[in-house]
């Protein structure tokens, strides 16, 4: 059974791009347009990993990671931050929130897939 990955990004084209890369590697993809949307779509879903943008309206990525870590069912779900932000301070924020990896856009598909393969839950 294919593993499911949630892609959270306010850019529809970025969600498509990430979706193409992940689906091509055999993953199922659930899309969300921001942190709030992602939290609402988590319910009832088995999510093996989350790929999340940082700068988004309504709820940014860092806040979303903090929120998901409070949910018993998703406490251990790994989150990869996928963002244009490359400052060390932002990375530290992501790490403190509970993210497992930080990938800078524009990413090479094989780089993201390598990180996903390493972190995705069985």
């Amino acid at each position: 059974m294919a593993k499911t990955i949630m892609v959270v990004d306010d850019s529809a084209s970025l969600r498509q791009v990430v979706g193409i890369a992940l689906k091509g590697a055999g993953y199922d993809v659930v899309e969300a347009m921001d942190g709030m949307d992602a939290l609402s779509k988590l319910k009832g879903q088995k999510i093996n990993l989350v790929v999340c943008d940082v700068n988004m309206p309504n709820m940014d990525g860092i806040t979303f990671v903090k929120e998901i870590k409070q949910l018993p069912n998703y406490k251990f779900t790994p989150v990869i931050m996928l963002t244009t932000e490359s400052q060390e301070a932002k990375k530290k924020e992501g790490q403190a929130a509970g993210a497992k990896a930080w990938v800078v856009k524009p990413f090479k598909p094989e780089v993201l897939l390598g990180a996903v393969a390493k972190l995705v839950l069985p």
Partner: protein
């Protein structure tokens, strides 16, 4: 909808931004070049405020519309790439199923070849059996020759017995009354020899008929066997031809399947490159968003400048650093900082992953 390549959109939008920046700078300089008369200053500041409030929303709407159109176009482009990748995957899956599935073409071919080989072997065995039977029938012909010789032997013995009986009758007549009994025996022997001769002829006739029937059957069987040999060779040739054509077809299909796989790998590589290029839209969109947000603050800065004048702080040039400082705070990319400093900036796909 007209689609544009993200790289081209990127350059076009940067050009537009530069154009707007030049316009804003010129306008700010006009603002610094205060009117000649002191009495005209409040009216000038009022008009400047109205100007900024009229122009800025239009500029911002244009930027936002460009951003939105670009987002829609790139999303559609990405969707089409997604469709291409899906179709490729489907084609590859079908091709792979043909190569590795239970009923793959090469397996069907091997199975058919084996089965047809068995049919040919069975037919050959039947023909061999028929040839053996024909040989046995030819042996019967030899037996009939022997029977004919034996019948001729019987006829010869009958003729000699008859001659012997005739001599015995002559000798019995010469003996007179004493040989009368012997003459009767000689007469009976002659009857027996005649009957033996007749039986011999009858056997000979029957043997001839049987021999003729066997020769006729042998002839028919030989002709039939030759026809069957020819049919067998023809069938074998036809089966070989069919198998060769089938083999050519399966080889061609295997080659085309392999070619499809190679092309698919190459296309997937190209799509991977395209995925990187498509992401530049997101960067451009973010940069436009930051500039848009900063431009919206310009009327506020102008208004504050006017209020300061009205409060008696004197006529001062609007401070560009206020806006630029706010703009810098919104930057997310190293590239934006470099552009801000007037440096050349290039963005390329990152290989780096930071694991925590």
């Amino acid at each position: 909808m007209a689609l544009f390549w993200p790289g081209a959109g990127w350059l076009g939008i940067l050009g537009a931004l530069a154009f707007i920046a030049v316009g804003v700078a010129a306008w700010l300089q006009l603002g610094v070049a205060a009117p000649a008369g002191r009495d005209d200053v409040p009216a000038y500041l009022e008009q400047r405020q109205a100007f900024s409030e009229a122009v800025m929303p239009v500029w911002c709407r244009q930027i936002e519309a460009s951003r939105s159109q670009m987002e829609d176009a790139v999303a559609e482009l990405a969707g089409r790439f997604s469709g291409i990748v899906d179709k490729l995957d489907t084609a590859l899956h079908l091709s792979s199923a043909t190569d590795h599935g239970e009923a793959s073409l090469s397996q069907v071919f091997s199975h058919s070849e084996t089965q047809l080989g068995e049919v040919v072997a069975t037919m050959k065995a039947a023909l061999e059996s028929k040839h053996a039977m024909l040989a046995r029938i030819r042996e019967l012909e030899q037996f009939t020759r022997e029977l004919r010789d034996m019948a001729e032997g019987v006829a010869s013995i009958a003729a000699q017995t008859n001659l012997l009986a005739l001599n015995a009758a002559i000798e019995a007549a010469r003996a007179g009354p004493a040989g009368r009994g012997f003459a009767v025996v000689a007469q009976e022997v002659r009857h027996l020899s005649n009957r033996s001769a007749e039986t011999g002829r009858s056997i000979s006739d029957r043997v001839n008929k049987i021999s003729s029937a066997i020769v006729s059957a042998c002839h028919a069987a030989t002709e039939s066997s030759a026809a069957e040999d020819e049919a067998m060779r023809s069938s074998e040739g036809t089966i070989d031809n069919v198998l060769r054509e089938f083999r050519n077809l399966t080889d061609a299909m295997a080659q085309s399947s392999e070619l499809l796989k190679q092309e698919s790998v190459a296309i997937k590589g190209e799509v991977g490159e395209a995925l990187v290029q498509l992401q530049f839209q997101d960067r451009v969109s973010q940069m436009l968003g930051h500039v848009h947000h900063n431009m919206e603050m310009l009327p506020v800065v102008m208004d504050e400048n006017r209020r300061n004048y009205e409060a008696g702080a004197g006529l001062q040039a609007p401070d560009a650093q206020v806006l630029l400082g706010e703009l810098e705070k919104t930057y997310a990319m190293a590239e934006e900082h470099a552009i801000h400093r007037g440096e050349m900036a290039t963005a390329k796909a990152s290989d780096e992953v930071t694991f925590f």
